[in-house]
């Protein structure tokens, strides 16, 4: 009896532990790409996403001409903000927590596209960018 109770408690604790990373987010890159693509009515293209992310733009703020200004061209390594704080790698293969929180993704797309492009990214662009980033 006691033994069973203890086992149950242990299983419960393990379930909580195992569920924790998933519980911290509410979505996945795959889900987000499907949502944005459906909204845009286009096929996501990792190649277009890469070109947009790696490219240099002129429409935004002069301090941030490119996504790579902060995230660098090596998405498997840490980037850096303009104030010198480290940014965790963007590639899910080294940072599995990426693109699992829809509010976070929406907030940073809004901010970073406005900083770099001077406008919000379209749903098609978000699908493209995530298609590329999530493949890394």
């Amino acid at each position: 009896m006691h033994e069973n109770l203890r086992r149950l408690t242990l299983i419960g604790a393990l379930a909580v532990l195992a569920g924790w990373p998933a519980a911290a987010g509410d979505t996945s890159a795959r889900q987000l790409i499907a949502q944005f693509a459906a909204e845009a009515g286009t096929q996501p293209s990792a190649a277009r996403g890469k070109a947009l992310f790696m490219g240099t733009h002129t429409g935004g703020k002069p301090e941030t001409p490119s996504c790579t200004t902060c995230h660098t061209r090596n998405l498997k390594a840490a980037g850096q903000t303009r104030a010198g704080k480290a940014i965790e790698p963007m590639a899910p293969s080294v940072n599995p927590a990426r693109y699992t929180d829809s509010a976070k993704v929406a907030k940073w797309f809004r901010r970073n596209c406005k900083s770099v492009l001077g406008r919000e990214c379209t749903a098609a662009e978000k699908a493209d960018i995530l298609a590329w980033l999530s493949s890394l």
């Binding site: 941030t64 903000t81 104030a83 010198g84 704080k85 809004r110 901010r111 406005k114 900083s115």
Partner: protein, 157 residues
């Protein structure tokens, strides 16, 4: 038997800096206690302690987040309002305070950078080597030089 002159001299720094003056040699800057402020304002740099700027500076910063020192740092309105309320309630001039941190600052000076406050400029003018500036990359990168800045300690170097 206590020496009255010595007691008076010891009282001078207290009079000059006033009670609660943070970050003088052995004092600690009250840390950021609001979790939302810590997370949102700590994403691109350390979450600066509200006691470093007067309320009018925080209000201006919080009203212009879409163009925040050359970046878009916008928030949804509920989060923005909550963070502004916290920063203002804990600002350098809260409850009519006038610490050394505000000295040299006119009533109408809207300084938005801690690193442009008169005391900050004075404190960092001579004591900081070029090598240290190069390593930090930015004046706003307090933690590069003050490793325990987020814990409120700035006298550790």
């Amino acid at each position: 038997m206590r020496n009255p002159v010595r007691n008076m001299l010891m009282a001078v720094p207290l009079l000059m800096f006033g009670p609660g003056a943070p970050a003088s040699a052995d004092e600690r800057m009250p840390v950021v206690t609001d979790a939302l402020t810590k997370a949102e304002c700590g994403a691109c740099h350390m979450a600066y302690q509200p006691g470093f700027l007067p309320a009018r500076s925080w209000k201006t910063i919080m009203a212009t987040l879409d163009n925040h020192f050359g970046e878009d740092a916008s928030l949804d309105e509920a989060d923005r309002a909550q963070i502004e309320a916290y920063l203002v309630a804990n600002a350098a001039d809260r409850n009519g305070r006038t610490g050394w941190m505000l000295r040299g600052l006119g009533q109408n000076d809207y300084i938005l950078r801690i690193s442009e406050m008169p005391w900050w400029v004075r404190e960092h003018n001579h004591e900081v080597s070029q090598r240290a500036w190069d390593r930090a990359g930015s004046k706003a990168n307090c933690t590069a030089c003050h490793r325990r800045a987020e814990q409120g300690w700035f006298d550790d170097d």
